[in-house]
């Protein structure tokens, strides 16, 4: 049982872009860190610990926390811990920061996720994360396996490419309401998605997430410190992590078993019986449009095979019973080390009512999800109240 209740009291994000030529790595991270500190009105010296993370192979600078934990965050003479877990890096950062405050070890923790993805290249970097003997020779980064997942999902349930394209349309037009999102396309259509180049059957260019550069920072505080700095925090109600087999292909990949397991645990701990009824908004990790269809099923939002149905019925659209990705999701913004943390930040923004044009009305509980590695999932449930 956690010792303390933990809330998000400050949030910072950079405007995500394809290439940030104007800043180097610590300067880019500083933008988000400073924004979070100013948002929480906390002095840099009052932060107790820094949790920072990215995936080093994208920038080619190993041990990056050595210089950006100190030059971009107030980490001088303080504990600085690095977390790197692939696509789940952002949510692992959030969960690690949460544990550090919930345990009572620290009172105020700054969590930063970042990536300067286009310094190296996403696909190339991702390949180096995998087994050199068995997987690297043929692996095509993340998009190859994601295409295989889409293909097996489509074959199992008879899902069409048009159905998947509707997800991109929903998310990238949602992104037009999010000033931080990378790809904002208010007028995007299904035809536009369907006419884009086939990247890896059945994934077309616009079925896939972009490669973005940027940083995201959140500040956690325990109950006592939270009262001092804000009367509108977002409380962490539950967290759950589920990792999977080393070779993601050890079982057939049309759904996401780790998401089913992690979400069940997170729901139980947060007192959620029916996710569609009990949650008000969900920020899920969808690297491709097909992923959202399949993984909303794994998260328990609907029966297997019905991910497209709840989209068509408007349930996951803005204005529906459970809007999914009002921020635009990963399909609109993907700085890998930060992406899952942006989901947590956006869920917190929804709970705090600070979403502006992308705000979902009356948010009491929000879900955030991270995905990555060999099909791992992490879930954080945030809410207006600390206790379930």
């Amino acid at each position: 049982m956690p010792k303390n209740d933990v809330a998000v009291v400050g949030i910072g994000q950079t405007k995500f872009r394809s290439k940030r030529r104007d800043v180097n790595i610590p300067e880019m991270i500083y933008e988000a860190a400073k924004m979070a500190l100013d948002d929480a009105k906390i002095e840099p010296k009052d932060i107790d610990a820094i949790i920072i993370g990215n995936m080093d192979h994208f920038e080619g600078i190993n041990f990056s926390e050595l210089w950006c934990g100190i030059d971009a965050a107030p980490g001088y003479l303080k504990p600085v811990v690095k977390v790197a877990t692939g696509g789940t890096t952002g949510s692992s950062l959030a969960i690690c920061g949460y544990y550090n405050v919930a345990s009572g070890i620290y009172n105020k923790v700054l969590v930063i996720g970042w990536e300067k993805l286009n310094e190296g290249g996403a696909t190339t970097g991702i390949i180096t994360a995998f087994d050199p003997v068995w997987e690297r020779p043929s692996l095509a980064g993340a998009l190859g396996p994601l295409a295989l997942m889409a293909n097996t999902y489509a074959a199992k349930y008879g899902i069409t490419p048009e159905q998947a394209a509707k997800v991109t349309v929903k998310n990238r037009s949602n992104a037009a309401n999010n000033p931080f999102a990378h790809l904002q396309m208010p007028n995007i259509t299904v035809d536009y998605v369907m006419s884009s180049q086939m990247i890896s059957y059945p994934l077309r260019l616009h079925d896939c997430c972009p490669q973005s550069e940027g940083a995201c920072a959140i500040i956690y505080a325990n109950e006592e410190e939270t009262k001092k700095v804000t009367d509108n925090p977002a409380w962490i109600q539950s967290v759950a992590t589920a990792h999977y087999y080393t070779f993601g292909t050890d079982t057939i990949m049309f759904d996401l078993p780790s998401a089913a397991i992690a979400s069940k645990e997170a729901y139980r701990k947060a007192g959620i019986k029916d996710p569609v009824k009990d949650l008000d908004v969900a920020e899920i990790y969808e690297p491709t449009s097909w992923s959202e269809l399949s993984w909303t099923e794994s998260l328990g939002f609907c029966k297997s095979g019905e991910g497209g149905k709840i989209l068509d019925e408007g349930i996951t659209q803005m204005g529906g019973e459970l809007p999914v990705n009002p921020s635009g999701g990963v399909l609109s913004t993907n700085p890998i080390g930060a992406t899952a943390l942006v989901r947590v930040a956006e869920a917190a923004i929804q709970v705090m009512g600070r979403g502006g044009k992308r705000q979902v009305p009356d948010v009491e509980k929000a879900l955030s999800m991270g995905f990555g590695g060999s099909l791992w999932t992490e879930i954080l449930i945030l809410g207006k109240e600390p206790k379930r």
């Binding site: 030529r21 104007d22 080619g60 290249g121 696909t123 190339t124 970097g125 390949i127 180096t128 050199p132 003997v133 068995w134 997987e135 690297r136 020779p137 043929s138 692996l139 095509a140 980064g141 998009l143 190859g144 396996p145 295409a147 295989l148 997942m149 293909n151 097996t152 074959a155 180049q197 086939m198 990247i199 890896s200 059957y201 059945p202 994934l203 087999y245 080393t246 070779f247 292909t249 050890d250 079982t251 057939i252 990949m253 049309f254």
Partner: protein
């Protein structure tokens, strides 16, 4: 957009990492590649507790946390069934070579007869309309084998007539 680019300072340093590694592959992999090179055989490893047959063979069963040894290695068929397929059609630098990997190439997920886990590997077909979940596939072996995964450069779709 281009006006902004001129104003932004772009000070870039380019380099190419080139790091050599010698990865220890483990006893089961050593045996696997020996049998592949010498006898054109494909081996998996079977968990002594739950009986799950793993391909690629590995030292520990993740479900049982029980060790699998050389005695637990079993023969697998070079044939399998296609569970999913794609045609990779985008340019990227291959970190194994530092150059672009040639594309398009067929890439599939399939289960070898006798194995309980799936595998991803190259497929000898770049027209996705010719592929179907459920097709039978077969490993294609090189005549001159070196004892690495490239000895099976790809799998091929077994035509209906065969």
């Amino acid at each position: 957009m281009s006006k902004r680019k001129d104003k932004e300072k772009v000070f870039e340093i380019k380099w190419k990492t080139d790091l050599p590694y010698r990865y220890s592959i483990g006893k089961l992999a050593v045996k696997f590649f020996e049998e592949l090179k010498n006898n054109k055989k494909i081996l998996g490893s079977k968990c002594p507790k739950c009986g799950k047959v793993h391909f690629p063979p590995r030292g520990v069963c993740a479900d049982c946390l029980v060790e699998m040894t050389l005695d637990d290695m079993v023969d697998l068929s070079p044939r399998g069934t296609l569970a999913g397929f794609t045609v990779v059609n985008y340019p990227f630098v291959d970190p194994n070579t530092g150059g672009m990997r040639p594309f398009p190439y067929g890439y599939a997920i399939f289960k070898l007869d006798g194995a309980d886990t799936y595998t991803m590997h190259f497929l000898d077909e770049i027209d996705h309309t010719k592929m179907r979940v459920g097709q039978r596939v077969e490993a294609v072996f090189k005549e001159e084998r070196q004892g690495n995964i490239d000895d099976i450069p790809y799998f091929r779709i077994i035509k209906e007539e065969e």
